[in-house]
């Protein structure tokens, strides 16, 4: 970085790119950096070329980027998450490969594939991406897609705000992505603890990339939380009492409330750190009365609820699939509701377990340790409920069930290692070791990742009209389960042997065998990623054979299965009247669930708008400008946002009306189609005979 700040380009310095690095210091580390940057550039060029060739820009803009439809917004969130997941897994693999070759000696300390600083960037981007740009968009996307359909609502309470949230998340993700190409990312891990990340120890743009990505996407998540909460409180179909909501809606409600109360803490801690860095404040500095423990405190007031924000939607998914694929009613609905809400509440009372070693009194530590262990109780209740749901059911081993089984086996181990860590005196021994790394991957991968992938598999036909290949789906699931075991179980051992986390090198040769096993696991994880991509591709190619236009491929019991697949933009031809907890199941029991509604009315839909897109562009420009101190652009960006909002507020915006005749026509065609399709039995579920119309005589949920 040059010393002078240019008035036009700020600190932006094109001579520091991974490409120039590799020319100046050729080596594996810089080659990997340049390779990653090339993949990004080439990928972007390939995407642009493909879209231009296929003439997809127009449809992309009209049908997707400007759509306020929660279902489409949900799909875009998930697409974003999957792209980021690919980068995250590859980074995980590079770190595993690095550590497997990173045995140093006391004389020659550095070893391995990548330079120490590069390794630090890897775990920082990996952690940041996985939490904020994989797990969060996956669950927010899934909730966006599923929640309104399950509630019997047409859309979110605030569709355009929803678009803005997506835009903010995407702008944050874009900042992390662009850091591959221009400049460096921070090296402070996903938590970016000061004072190390303060200006004195981390000058330069790295930490700023993290800060603005987090601040911007965090705003998006706060707004999302509001949107979900208001949707659940105000948009339920008539008759959809709280205790009739499917469990996924309940966990969404927990998530919404937690987002509303937890995200502000992250906003505050990041904003304070930004003030320290940009304006020489002294919140977290070593001198002038700064106190870094305040950062840890505020960050984890967000951070711990965050991990339950991540896991609860997965619990919702597991509740749905365990019942559907066992052909049984969900066991212990009420206990699951209470357990979810208890988890949501208790999760706000445990954050201190992330810094047991801060030096507070033993009594304080014990209080938080006990609170932490208490969370195990409602979680345990849930596991038993799902097992009881499957007990003596006619379980079909579909892909989601493979994920669920993997979850049962692995998540319990992760949870138990969490209980171990909740014990302050044990935590003193193993904190900051790879034991901890093993623990959180052990809950996050079987919990969040499996849960979300299971959910994607389950609801995919609703979105696109065809099922995903079960064969490849199961292969992917097995690879993720096996890959997990090989990658992370060795880290428990390594942690107990004394290997600190985030270590670019180590000197103990006894670590090596475990490192090799973990690296092998990393290869399996890469294979799982490839297999996941292949699942989508091969299913797309065989979409005719996999098509389920009847819309109910799994003989489900919740409302979203009553509509065609792919689901029309208005979702329900007329808002359903709910009379029971498993409304769609009850209608099946009553016979003739596909009866046409008595009359159709005009449907009001929010009009398409570029509002979210423009806000996303403005915030991205603002974030990028702040990172590089391009002040004129930052000011422009920051003025553009209220400008856009006020501009929109001044205009009268008419909704789009879909005439009743059009709805009646489409709906009539759907009902005829259903009548003409053969009913598939459970045994036929994975065959071509499954056209999305199940044999309702078999329904037992």
């Amino acid at each position: 970085m040059s010393g002078q700040t240019s008035p036009i380009f700020g600190n932006l310095d094109w001579s520091v790119t991974p490409f120039t690095d590799v020319l100046q210091h050729p080596g594996t580390s810089t080659i990997i950096g340049a390779f990653a940057a090339s993949v990004l550039v080439l990928g972007a060029i390939a995407a642009v070329a493909l879209f231009t060739r296929m003439r997809w820009w127009g449809p992309l803009y009209r049908n997707w980027l400007t759509s306020p439809d929660a279902k489409r917004i949900g799909i875009m969130y998930i697409a974003l998450a999957l792209i980021m997941l690919a980068r995250g897994i590859i980074e995980g693999f590079v770190m595993r490969a690095h550590q497997a070759s990173a045995l140093g000696t006391l004389a020659q300390r550095e070893g391995g594939l990548v330079a120490p600083d590069h390794f630090a960037q890897l775990f920082s981007t990996h952690g940041t991406i996985m939490i904020f740009f994989v797990a969060m968009p996956l669950l927010i996307g899934l909730i966006n897609f599923v929640l309104p359909q399950q509630l019997g609502a047409r859309d979110m309470a605030f569709p355009v705000l929803n678009q803005v949230s997506l835009g903010l998340t995407a702008a944050g993700a874009a900042l992390v992505m662009i850091s591959l190409l221009v400049g460096d990312f921070g090296t402070g891990g996903w938590t970016m603890y000061p004072p190390y990340t303060g200006k004195i120890f981390s000058p330069g743009e790295g930490v700023d990339y993290w800060l603005w990505a987090i601040l911007i996407s965090g705003m998006g998540s706060t707004l999302t939380g509001m949107n979900f909460a208001v949707t659940i409180f105000k948009e339920r179909a008539p008759g959809m009492h709280f205790m009739r909501m499917p469990l996924f809606c309940w966990t969404s409600l927990c998530v919404a409330i937690m987002l509303i109360y937890a995200m502000p803490a992250l906003t505050v801690s990041s904003a304070m750190l930004a003030l320290d860095r940009y304006a020489d404040f002294h919140f977290f500095t070593n001198e002038a009365g700064g106190n870094m423990m305040n950062y840890a405190n505020i960050f984890w007031m967000f951070g711990h609820p965050e991990v339950y924000i991540l896991i609860l939607p997965a619990f919702g998914v597991f509740s749905e699939i365990s019942s559907t694929f066992s052909g049984k009613r969900l066991y212990g609905y009420t206990s699951l509701v209470i357990a979810s809400m208890s988890i949501a509440v208790i999760s706000f009372t445990v954050w201190l377990h992330h810094f047991f070693t801060m030096g507070q009194s033993a009594a304080v530590n014990i209080a938080f340790g006990i609170a932490t262990m208490v969370i195990g109780i409602p979680t345990g209740v849930k596991i038993y409920d799902w097992m009881a749901t499957m007990w003596r059911g006619r379980v079909r081993i579909t892909t989601p069930i493979v994920y669920l089984t993997g979850f049962f086996l692995l998540f319990v181990i992760g949870g138990l290692s969490g209980i171990i860590l909740a014990n302050p005196s044990i935590d003193y021994q193993v904190h900051n070791s790879t034991f901890l790394v093993a623990h959180f991957h052990n809950v996050i991968i079987p919990g969040v990742l499996y849960g979300m992938l299971a959910g994607i598999h389950y609801w995919f036909p609703k979105a696109f009209g065809f099922r995903l290949s079960e064969t490849w789906g199961r292969r992917t699931a097995f690879l993720f389960v096996g890959g997990f075991v090989f990658t992370f179980m060795p880290l428990y051992v390594l942690g107990l042997m004394g290997m600190p986390r985030r270590s670019p090198t180590f000197q103990n040769p006894d670590f090596l065998p475990w490192m090799y096993i973990a690296a092998f696991g990393g290869v399996l994880m890469l294979c799982a990623l490839a297999s996941l991509i292949w699942t989508f591709w091969t299913s797309y190619r065989h979409r005719a054979a996999l098509a389920v236009p009847g819309g109910d491929p799994w003989n489900g019991s919740t409302l979203e299965w009553s509509t065609p697949a792919p689901v029309p933009e208005w979702t329900f031809p007329c808002i359903p009247q709910v009379t029971a907890r498993h409304e769609w199941g009850e209608r099946k029991r009553a016979g003739d669930p596909w009866k046409a509604p008595a009359e159709y009315t005009d449907i009001e839909m929010p009009a398409n708008t570029a509002h979210g897109l423009l806000i996303a562009i403005a915030t991205f420009a603002f974030g990028f400008a702040m990172v590089w101190h391009i002040w004129w652009l930052a000011i422009l960006g920051v003025l553009a946002i209220p400008g856009l909002v006020i501009f929109r507020a001044m205009r009268i915006i008419e909704p789009r009306i879909i005439p009743a005749a059009e709805v009646a026509e489409a709906d009539g065609r759907f009902r005829q189609l259903v009548a003409s399709l053969p009913a598939a039995t459970r045994a036929d579920e994975e065959t071509e005979r499954n056209r999305g119309v199940p044999d309702i005589a078999e329904f037992a949920g």
Partner: protein, 208 residues
């Protein structure tokens, strides 16, 4: 007209319940947003308290050197009277007294808000002159962040008032604008609420 009891003060379109339901949803959403905002202030209050000790002040100027309670009292008066003035807006809306009256009351609020800001900024400048800049200590950082954020809120409130006046002028007093007026009211009173906290915890406690 407003027989169903929902937002009687807004005089929304007489057609049917739908306008009321929308209002209900939007205003509820805004309340939820403010709850989130409240957490932000809550954490800043807690930080302020945690820096309020000799370590946090790090030998820099302290509350006794910097705070001018008279000025703070004047600011409080401006802000709280501004809050009361918003009742003028609500009443004019409720009794259908026309746009001119609503705009007048909105302007009164804006002027009172600006008066508050004037004295607040004057204090900030004076404090900076005495070495009380946010760069001087952790405690001053937290003071400027908390009080400054509230000031920024008041400033956005004033901007919002003018944006609303613009909307009344261009699109008239339709249902959407009425609902926004009610949200603006919630926001404007929220600023008073936070200020009461600031007045007592930030200014009175350290001087007590």
């Amino acid at each position: 007209m407003s027989g169903n009891g929902l937002y009687p003060g807004l005089n929304l379109g007489a057609t049917h319940g739908e306008a009321h339901e929308d209002a209900e949803k939007t205003v509820f959403g805004f309340w939820v947003f403010l709850m989130s905002d409240l957490i932000i202030f809550g954490i800043l209050f807690a930080s302020y308290a945690s820096y309020l000790d000799p370590v946090g002040m790090a030998g820099g100027p302290g509350p006794k050197d910097l705070f001018d309670l008279t000025s703070v009292a004047i600011q409080t008066a401006f802000l709280l009277v501004g809050g009361i003035a918003y009742a003028g807006v609500s009443l004019a809306l409720k009794y259908d007294q026309g746009r001119a009256k609503i705009i007048t009351w909105l302007l009164v609020c804006a002027v009172l808000g600006a008066g508050f800001l004037f004295f607040e900024v004057k204090d900030f400048i004076a404090q900076a002159g005495e070495g009380g800049v946010p760069q001087a200590s952790g405690w001053l950082s937290s003071y400027w962040a908390l009080v400054g954020l509230h000031g920024i809120h008041v400033f956005s409130g004033i901007l919002w008032i003018f944006a609303t006046i613009g909307q009344i002028a261009t699109r008239g007093l339709d249902d959407v604008v009425k609902v926004r007026l009610s949200m603006l009211g919630v926001f404007w009173h929220f600023l008073d609420l936070i200020w009461v906290g600031i007045f007592s915890l930030v200014f009175l406690v350290p001087l007590a």
